[in-house]
């Protein structure tokens, strides 16, 4: 047992729902107790879908336990077939149905509906949502796709985009445009928007673009082996990655690496003097492996940040992320426990977090700016406006997203210059974030009990800030104060100093000057 409050990923059957909901003409019959239908609202609310997810639940209740649940499953399968007339169906169990051991596969086989009915084995007590989507898509492709003659014109399948994917909708548009510029057409996009009939003609493409390894790598490997289709390894998020992607595609497809980057503004924005203050901003990255990998490169090589830590929650990609961390000279954090992530962030005291919905809240709690780069996300990250992460426009979007939460450069300088100012001070917050500015309260003289507290004998290894040093620390702008405090304490510990004075503070500052 493991005590959990927040989970980065849902159970695997939610991953299967993400595939089913992305597709058309496919229906999912899920053997599940009453209540599991909650997952519908992720799609209808967060993604704002205008139809019910194509999922029927058996919604068995306590009184049904025993032989009845198997009959319920059969009835649900029949009803769904009659009502929705799908081209294919997927069937499986949620965590509770897994325990009662009805056999969806066997039952579906006896019914002979005349369409493909694909059974899913999703071990709910071992695996999670991303495994569910990857496995489901793989099973669908394996069941339906067949080798066939290639299209006369060079074409590719885009694989991986699913329901509830972070910016999947707009990434498809962007990648399609990148391919078109090289004269490559898109054969099938799947699972998003594909029907089972579309899956059947995936074999006609010359190669596959693996957009999101989390959701389609197993299918990509199967198609490589069985349909003879190579797949791309570069995910085109960021300027450099997009250029590499174009080169990779050109090599695979045997075409000229052409690209029209007339709309690409990100490099100039990043080079312009207004961005100089971004140099060396310390960032921490956390999310799904694909987005963390891509964004680490953007952060360091394209924004000029310093990556001080990174990690992912999906263990399937732990090895990749460890390798990446080694390249960046930082430690990898592979964890699905948000308290560990919070701890890592606290210890590293970065100036910015790039993460998920969860890290946004951690950032809020710790007063650290955060930009969202990965699922899981809330409704605001399924925006109405065009907002890809991939390709040229994706790079433009990323630049804006990463700059916005930071205090603007001039503001940062003003905070340095007027840090003692009564109305322009750190507690007033960033001027472009709204909220009424609060005038600084006139600081009272240190009170007697504070003195007493300072006078108490420090415990072994504990560091005490003398009040003058503490006051001096407060003069440092808030967005670097955490770092200054941490560095000073580390410096003091190394020097065996237990009381930090103003002197110690500035000695540490000189020591860590870069």
């Amino acid at each position: 047992m493991k005590l959990t409050v927040w989970t980065y990923e849902g159970p695997p059957h939610v991953g299967a729902m993400r595939v089913a909901t992305a597709m058309k003409g496919l229906h999912y019959v899920l053997h599940a107790p009453q209540g599991d239908t909650y997952a519908d609202l992720l799609f209808t609310m967060i993604e704002r879908r205008n139809h019910r997810p194509p999922v029927s639940y058996t919604t068995f209740q306590a009184r049904d336990l025993g032989e009845d649940t198997a009959n319920l499953f059969k009835t649900a399968l029949h009803d769904a077939f009659d009502r929705f007339k799908p081209q294919a169906m997927i069937v499986g169990s949620s965590c509770t149905a897994e325990l009662i051991q009805d056999d969806p596969e066997g039952m579906a086989a006896t019914m002979d509906l005349g369409i493909p009915v694909i059974p899913l084995e999703l071990p709910s007590y071992q695996r999670k949502e991303n495994f569910g989507s990857d496995e489901t898509f793989y099973q669908i492709v394996k069941a339906i796709a067949r080798p066939m003659e290639r299209t006369a014109h060079v074409s590719a399948n885009l694989i991986g985009p699913v329901g509830l994917g972070f910016r999947h909708r707009d990434d498809i548009t962007e990648v399609t445009a990148l391919l078109e510029e090289m004269g490559i057409s898109v054969n099938v996009v799947a699972p998003m928007g594909a029907t089972p009939a579309d899956i059947a003609r995936m074999g006609a493409a010359h190669f596959n673009v693996l957009m999101y390894p989390e959701h389609a790598e197993t299918a990509a490997r199967w198609m490589e082996k069985n349909l003879g289709q190579p797949f791309t390894k570069t995910v085109p998020i960021g300027v450099g990655a997009t250029r590499d992607f174009i080169a990779e595609v050109a090599r695979i497809a045997g075409v000229e690496p052409k690209a029209d980057d007339a709309r690409l503004r990100m490099p100039w924005y990043s080079q312009s003097v207004d961005s100089t203050y971004l140099t060396g901003k310390r960032v921490f990255l956390f999310g799904d492996a694909t987005h963390v990998k891509a964004m680490a490169r953007v952060a360091r090589d394209e924004m000029g940040f310093e990556v001080v830590g990174l990690g992912c929650y999906n263990r399937e990609f732990a090895r990749d992320i460890r390798k990446l961390a080694t390249e960046f000279g930082v430690e990898a954090l592979i964890s699905d426990d948000y308290l560990e992530v919070e701890k890592a962030i606290e210890d590293l005291a970065p100036e910015m977090i790039l993460g998920t919905q969860m890290e946004r809240h951690i950032g809020k709690r710790l007063g650290i700016p955060c930009a969202v780069i990965s699922a899981p996300v809330h409704v605001q990250d399924f925006p109405a406006r065009y907002s890809p992460q991939m390709g040229w426009e994706g790079a433009n979007v990323i630049f804006d997203t990463l700059v916005h939460p930071l205090v603007m450069g001039l503001e940062e300088h003003l905070l340095h210059m007027f840090r003692e100012d009564f109305e322009f001070h750190d507690e007033a917050g960033a001027s472009h974030h709204g909220g009424a500015a609060k005038a600084r309260a006139v600081e009272a003289e240190p009170e007697a009990d504070q003195e007493a507290a300072a006078g108490a004998a420090p415990a072994e290894g504990e560091i005490v800030w003398l009040s003058a040093a503490e006051k001096e620390l407060k003069k440092i702008p808030f967005f670097v104060r955490g770092k200054a405090k941490r560095n000073t304490e580390k410096f003091a510990l190394e020097k065996g100093v237990h009381e930090i004075s103003v002197e110690t503070l500035y000695e540490a500052k000189a020591h860590y000057a870069r």
Binding site: M1, Q34, L99
Partner: protein, 429 residues
């Protein structure tokens, strides 16, 4: 207490035939109740023993509340817990020890059963007894089931309160026990009205803290504030208490009738009653009138969700001039919602249980002006041109008693007003 609302209908719905359906149900399970119960009970922790699905449900339903140091969590069963049950008990003990060590402020711990824990027959009742001994006297450990196979949405609160009933101290005191978790502001309003009428003492279940748990006994009279407290009411009756039959305190009429039932029981004179209630009644009527302009003459269709459907249909038809087409409820206990059924004029289909596809067919055929449904159905129905009011808000928002009557009507009027405002806005979905 007459004159402001229509006379009771000659034939109410108490004896109307109930359409009972079984099939796919689009409802929450009882675990969802934790989200409001943990706010109400300030020294309680709710530990779900379940799967990743349970944790994901709570996270999805609690939204951003999950970041506010919530006093709930899920002990997620793993493969190794399923292999041998003795192991699962040891694991549970260890997780509880760790939790209680980290949160010494916790005085009541609820082990909440889920579908997986019920199916593998993990005996949480014994676990609770064992853990109570281990952590006495600081923490009392109790258990109830919020599993989907046994409970629907608000039944989770019922199961939680019902499990507390046998643990309440005994008392012979003549008292009123107000039962049902209400937002604090609403509870305070109710207590103040009762105090002004001279009804005393009044206790609440659930109480804010374990130490304030009410007593119960033969001289206890129970006024339910929520219609879904069937097991809790039965448990209180077993302890000798008597349940006051009354409509539920929604709207001016419901609140007045509810208070009047209490007033009669405690011998409050009509003059005193009028003196205390006249002003808030007038305020409530005035506030409702604003929304009733939008709601009057409109038809409404309820999908089953919380068991609040019948009292709400009574309020909307009688005080806001709406017509009920179908009133679906996950479970109907006529003992408890009887007084509301008496006031609901004959006509609507009264449905218990659900086969969601068939119910959607009926709803589409009826084309009601307003459909009350869950979040899994709301947007899909909106895109078909139907106006919806999502039902969960009715459980999370203060809607009981006089001062909220206008807000309650407003919750139903807002979607209709919005559709009218946006009437000229066309575009792709």
């Amino acid at each position: 207490m007459t004159g402001f609302t229509p006379a009771p209908p000659a034939a109410g719905c108490r004896n109307a035939p109930v359409l009972k359906e079984r099939g796919q149900r689009e409802v929450f399970c009882g675990l969802t109740g934790i989200i409001w119960l943990h706010r109400k009970m300030q020294d309680a922790f709710f530990l779900v023993v379940g799967s990743r699905t349970c944790a994901h449900l709570l996270q999805s339903a609690a939204g951003v509340m999950i970041f506010a140091e919530p006093r709930f969590g899920t002990a997620i069963l793993e493969e190794k817990d399923l292999a041998g049950l003795a192991d699962a008990n040891a694991e549970l003990d260890r997780e509880v020890d760790r939790l209680l060590a980290r949160r010494p402020d916790i005085k009541q711990l609820f082990l909440v059963g889920s579908c997986p824990s019920e199916v593998i027959k993990l005996d949480l009742h014994r676990a609770a007894e064992r853990l109570t001994e281990r952590h006495a006297p600081h923490v009392r450990v109790m258990n109830y089931s919020g599993s989907g196979i046994e409970t629907t949405f608000t039944e989770g609160e019922d199961a939680c309160l019902a499990t507390m009933v046998p643990t309440l101290p005994a008392t012979d005191e003549r008292q009123l026990l107000m039962v049902g978790a209400l937002p604090d502001v609403v509870e305070d309003q109710a207590l103040s009205l009762l105090a002004e009428m001279g009804v005393a003492p009044v206790r609440c279940l659930p109480a804010h803290r374990a130490a304030e748990a009410p007593g119960v006994g033969a001289n206890t009279v129970v006024a339910l504030t929520q219609p879904f407290l069937n097991e809790t009411a039965a448990g209180l009756e077993r302890r000798g208490a008597r349940i006051l039959p009354a409509p539920f305190p929604f709207g001016e009429e419901g609140t007045t009738a509810w208070l009047w039932a209490v007033a009669q029981e405690f011998g409050v004179s009509p003059e005193t009653f009028a003196k205390v209630t006249d002003a808030p009644r007038a305020r409530a009527r005035k506030a409702i009138a604003a929304a009733a302009e939008t709601l009057g003459g409109k038809s409404i269709f309820f999908f089953p969700d919380s068991q609040l459907e019948i009292p709400l249909a009574r309020f909307l038809t009688r005080e806001c001039g709406m017509t009920a087409v179908e009133v679906g409820a996950p479970f109907i206990n006529k003992q408890i919602v009887g007084p509301d059924l008496d006031l609901l004029a004959e006509g609507p289909v009264i449905a218990e249980g659900q086969d969601v596809d068939l119910q959607l067919d009926r709803c589409r055929a009826a084309r009601p002006d307003l459909t009350v449904c869950g979040l899994g159905l709301a947007n899909p129905l909106e895109s078909e041109g139907m106006t919806t009011k999502w039902a969960i808000e009715l459980v999370f928002t203060p809607v009981h008693f006089y001062e909220q009557a206008g807000d309650l009507a407003g919750l139903f009027a807002r979607p209709l007003r919005r559709r009218a405002i946006l009437a000229g806005l066309e575009g792709a979905a």
